[in-house]
């Protein structure tokens, strides 16, 4: 009885199991490196995704401060005061006497 050619083909291929030892060398190192790379890229991805949110927040905060700047106290500037009022201001600052 002739053997089924398909069985013979399967047997030939099955018995010739490929040697994977070279491909297995250092495999765990490569997998761990990929896991670390994926983890890093996922953090970067989140950072990039959050960028528009923080930009919008900064613009909104800037707009709010610009809109409410009249209600804020004037900042005292020593140099501006000296420039406007002259040496009496220097004397006031140094001695505390008018």
């Amino acid at each position: 009885m002739n053997p089924d050619p398909l069985d013979a083909l399967f047997r030939t291929v099955r018995e010739d199991a490929p040697d994977t030892s070279r491909a297995e060398f250092g495999f765990e190192t490569r997998v761990l490196a990929r896991i670390r790379a994926e983890r890093r890229s996922s953090w970067q991805g989140w950072a990039w995704r959050l960028c528009p949110f923080f930009t919008a927040l900064a613009v909104a905060a800037g707009a709010w401060f610009y809109g409410h700047r009249d209600g804020l106290p004037e900042t005292e500037n020593f140099y501006d005061a000296v420039r406007l009022a002259g040496t009496p201001v220097v004397s006031f600052y140094l001695t505390g006497e008018p």
């Binding site: 050619p5 013979a8 099955r14 010739d16 490929p18 491909a23 765990e28 761990l32 896991i35």
Partner: protein
Amino acid sequence: MTVLAWPMPFISAATSHDAGAESPPDDAALVRHILGGDERSFAELIRRHKSRVFGTCSRFARDSHELDDICQEVFLRAYRKLSGFRGEAPFEHWLATLTVSVCYDYLRKERRHRENLAYNVETSERRDVGADESLSARRAKELLDWAMRQLEPEDQLVLTLLELEERSIREIADVTGWGESKVKVRAFRARAKLKLIIEESHES
């Protein structure tokens, strides 16, 4: 080369008199440590199971680059899904199911992108398939690869597991999630199709 240093829980369990008899942690313990953030345990898990995964994936991959890609995908997917491992069955069964799933995905993806390959082995050699003892294993593999790639991914999967990996119908049903009767029917039809493809290649 990565030197494995066991994390503290393994060492602290050992006392001075039984330190030498400390057995390595089992797979379930390694999984718990990995879920706790210990990467070295995952390296150990890979080291234990990579030969089996490479053996299965080598039946599906065409070259060493594809083999490396598929095996990496198996372990990456295992790492991502590790929290789904309940420990009810051995880890290697869980990993075998995952391996088959990745290989099946690979076959489907490969089929979508594949061009219609022309097999250019000499006709005389093709006629001798199976009957000629001198047919080299490499030629046989080329012919089988070519013929298998004409089949549907499901057919390729079931024939590879049944005929090349020599798994039982029950095992194939377990790893694929199909019923045993579906595996039997699929294998029978796939075999018939493969036979026809090879016979037609002889005639052409």
